[in-house]
């Protein structure tokens, strides 16, 4: 792989290794791993910082492995071997990102999104503070920013109401669009949502009073 610029032409080494793979040289897969896998991983890392390093390594290794097993996937006339692997791995990495986003959406988790410096500095202390202390801070803007960075949609509104020590079911029901449900069902659904979000808050390091 070396340091080929993007979309560069196949090098003589690319062509020779591809020919060996194509001819079934049993040692060619090793050379492909040895020369191309680690540079491919180095290329991926800064581009997909949100992905786990082990996941990225597997993506790189799987791209190399696929080519070793199916050398016809690569055509030296269309560019360098390094670029082929980058394109292949890039597609896998993007898919991994999408899967992570979908998973995050289901879990109301914004993992991978970094806190802003101000929120991070504030939350160094807030991580062990109870909700009421967070909510009563002079700088509510920081708390709100933290909530906005960690929660989305109606969850964000519900969490903020909890931080505001709101107790009325009707208020939560309104935010959640449950006004048309009978009152017992509203209570049940609001409790379910709040319990889920309290669990999420705890995972984020915020101590939540039982009566929140």
């Amino acid at each position: 792989m070396r340091d080929d610029p993007p979309r560069s032409r196949a090098t003589a080494a690319d062509r020779e290794l591809h020919a060996r793979l194509h001819a079934g040289d049993p040692t060619a897969p090793f050379d492909l791993f040895r020369d191309y896998a680690e540079p491919l991983l180095s290329w991926l890392r800064p581009r997909f910082r949100g992905l786990d390093s082990r996941d990225l390594e597997e993506i790189a290794l799987d791209s190399v492995s696929r080519l070793a097993m199916e050398p016809a996937r690569y055509d030296p006339e269309r560019g360098s071997l390094a670029n082929y692997l980058r394109m292949d791995a890039d597609g896998d990495a993007r898919n991994a990102v999408e899967r992570a986003k979908r998973r995050a959406g289901r879990e109301i988790s914004l993992e991978g999104v970094e806190l802003s410096p101000s929120a991070r500095n504030s939350l160094v202390k807030e991580e062990v503070d109870p909700v009421d202390r967070i909510a009563s801070r002079e700088d509510k803007r920081v708390a709100r920013e933290w909530v906005e960075e960690h929660f989305a949609g109606s969850d964000r509104k519900v969490v903020w109401l909890m931080f505001e020590r709101e107790r009325r079911t009707s208020v939560f029901a309104s935010v959640l669009g449950l006004e048309d449900l009978p009152e017992p069902e509203q209570r049940h659904e609001v409790k379910r949502v709040k319990d889920r979000l309290k669990a999420r808050l705890k995972r984020l390091g915020v101590r939540v009073p039982d009566d929140a």
């Binding site: 040289d25 049993p26 897969p29 090793f30 791993f33 040895r34 020369d35 290794l61 190399v64």
Partner: protein
């Protein structure tokens, strides 16, 4: 050029799931026998640092002549004794067969596999 030997070893472990690679046969063999990498390398007669390279080679396939040619190519590349490598592959296959088949299935597999090597059996070191 790969500079991290541990990375290459992890690549071999990842390749283990693909029967295409020698890693699939040899690492399973070592695991069943309870060997670590050093012991597997010793069985193959290769330097421990060369083990990941051997594991990342394509598994020898084909008819007797093709199998022998593949074995010799790998052996030449890593300074191995071809007969020893062939025997290791055959042992790995045999052990895998006994682990997954009943006795009659194993015997059938052994009969089918034996002519592929064209190599005389070698004593285990």
């Amino acid at each position: 050029m790969m500079r991290d030997p541990a990375f290459l070893r992890r690549a071999a472990e990842r390749a283990r799931s693909q029967p295409f690679y020698l890693a699939a046969a040899l690492l399973d063999w070592a695991e069943r026998e309870g060997w670590d990498d050093a012991e597997l390398a010793a069985r193959l007669g290769c330097a421990p640092n060369d083990l990941p390279g051997v594991l990342l080679c394509r598994r020898p396939v084909g008819t007797g002549a093709q199998f022998r040619q593949d074995v010799e190519r790998i052996a030449e590349r890593f300074g191995l004794e071809p007969l020893r490598l062939a025997e290791a592959i055959r042992s790995a296959d045999a052990l895998a067969a006994t682990a997954s088949e009943d006795e009659s299935g194993w015997l059938a597999a052994a009969r089918d596999r034996e002519p592929e090597t064209d190599l005389p059996p070698q004593e285990t070191p």
